[in-house]
Subunit: 359 residues, 2 copies
């Protein structure tokens, strides 16, 4: 088992990474203050792992809320099921919520914890690669609105993250690939050595080699923890974690949540960001080609949907959370391993990139 610490002053918390952690109470109990726990999971994950969580938490008043599975259910309406569960079982302010599932479960549970009685504790137990390397770390929680992804949410840090790599054995191939998109992102934005390692080890990762996966998760979490520790509430540097996300969110929103997986949209979005960075003279075209190959090797899309025109992108990008006073801001690449945030991109160049990256 490896332990990382996210350093956020009094909101600091550990990330545990390893095998057979879910059923082991020692990773939960130091982080639970009261006697009540509500586990939130979904219809896919609960049959696989809820028993293990029950085993670990048998000393508590344990209640459960099982949500439908999918990004299309990350809504205010479905969020209410969590509040119903908390209130009908009379959970008080010292309760702890446990998120057992992927990014959707983590985001909703975290947001419910942020709001219930104006803030209670929660623990992340991410069961997908994407959530282990991304959404479970950093305290961003949210639900979607029909007009924009993650538009309603809060910054709320978990008490700990329990990333059990055994759960990846049951992960569908498509979701493994979606997780690898975010793993590749960390190499691109701030860790050139890790990017090179990924280029040489993609086959092992796709074959679910346990050691390779554990290493990739650990380096990804460490990179994210370092960025978050520097800028918890995204007033600056943290925005680089959104490489590919401005384009990607537009794809997800246009196609309907759940049609493209988040990681798939981010993959196509990262290639758009790379293409644009090349047009601005920062990346070599060989860099863009190498990224395209790596994404393709990971079975990820490298082109946006054929049915999205420029306005479909631009109108949605205009409500991106990084927009400041009407000014679109994009995360681009100065080089492989170094991202920057800029609002100084000519619209014509964006449109050229959108044309070049359309299926």
């Amino acid at each position: 088992m490896n332990k990382l610490q996210v350093e956020l002053g009094e909101r600091s918390y550990p990330i545990y990474i390893g095998r057979q952690l879910i059923s082991d109470s020692q990773f939960y109990t130091p982080h639970i203050r009261g006697s009540q726990v509500l586990v939130i999971s979904n219809e896919t994950v609960a049959p696989l792992y809820l028993g293990a969580v029950r085993h670990a938490l048998s000393d508590y008043q344990l209640n459960e809320v099982i949500l439908p599975d999918g990004e299309q259910f990350k809504t205010m309406d479905v969020l209410n099921h969590i509040f119903d569960g908390l209130l009908s079982h009379q959970h008080n302010r010292s309760t702890t919520l446990v998120a057992l599932g992927g990014g959707v479960i983590g985001d909703m549970t975290g947001f419910a914890a942020a709001c219930y009685q104006r803030g209670v504790d929660f623990i992340q137990v991410p069961t997908t690669l994407l959530s282990q390397v991304d959404s479970s770390v950093g305290g961003k929680t949210a639900v979607n609105h029909p007009l924009g992804k993650n538009m309603i949410g809060a910054f709320h840090q978990p008490r700990c993250v329990i990333a059990d790599t055994d759960t990846l054995e049951t992960l569908p191939d498509r979701e493994l690939s979606a997780g690898l998109a975010e793993v590749i992102k960390y190499g691109l934005i701030c860790d050139q050595a890790f990017y090179q390692w990924l280029a040489g080890n993609m086959e092992s990762l796709l074959a679910r080699n346990a050691d390779a996966l554990a290493y990739a998760i650990q380096v990804s979490c460490q990179n994210k923890a370092d960025v978050v520790a520097e800028d918890e509430k995204e007033s600056g540097i943290r925005a680089i974690l959104n490489l590919g996300h401005t384009f990607g969110h537009a794809i997800e929103a246009h196609q309907g949540y759940g049609q493209w997986l988040h990681g798939e949209a981010v993959a196509a979005g990262m290639l758009m960001a790379a293409d644009l960075s090349q047009r601005l003279g920062w990346l070599a075209s060989s860099d863009v080609d190498a990224l395209r190959s790596l994404l393709q090797q990971a079975s990820l899309p490298v082109l946006g949907p054929a049915n999205m025109d420029d306005d479909d992108y631009l109108s949605r990008m205009q409500v991106d959370k990084k927009v400041l006073d009407g000014q679109l801001r994009l995360v681009l690449l100065q080089s492989i391993g170094k991202a920057l945030v800029t609002s100084d991109v000519p619209r014509e160049q964006i449109i050229r990139t959108l044309s070049a990256c359309r299926a």
Copy 2:
């Protein structure tokens, strides 16, 4: 115009109290960072004062959301109208929300501001006595859930509070009285001299004497600001602000939100707290009698509804946010002007108080 400062470090903010403030841009502009403003009001207040706000904010991209009027609309569903307005007008993270109305508008606007894009600025323009002395100060925001009042919310401080006493001229008598309940509360919990002043000046307040009202608002806000500055997130002393609220919330929830005004339920609840404090030997029965007379003079109820039995109270009080590990905690009075929080109250005594205070 009087100005108080709520001291909360980097979240400190001013409260402006006086006449003709709503239409004056100088009270808003220093507290608005971006170029976009969304005003949230309700169908009762908007026709009276929205024009004045529009006048003050004519230099901004100004959009408006008008909600139905009443506590029964303080729900997640109605909250969504605010998000719809923000997103359909493409408001970004530097937007400012302005709450123009009473406590319901303030609580919902504040909670929407806490959640929109994970947190944007807001300004309180309270137009009722209750919201001027209570809900607009202190950063508590929330919506109700069918199983409990204010169960879903956040701590989110406004950038400023603009309390224009002219708005009280249009306030219905019943709402003026409801506001006076919270004013009396400040005397009871921490300001004996103010309690004496209120006992001597209730007639002027009910006659809407402008100077008397301004003084009562200022002392109330100062008392609240002092308590909040000491304990922003209610881990201790702040709970005394909830004198009468545990009983009162049970009444509101049982009767259906909007049937009893919040201040009315708090009035009956404060007399229950006083009655219980007398049973525990802290207050003299003459203190309880004097409080009853003062509340009656202010046209406030001093008895709970006839149709609520002990269990109707106790089951709802059990989900109160002050409950810790199943232990009911109550705010009671050690003496007039001094509140305390205790979990050490025999259930039989609570039941005796409920019987004694039933209509």
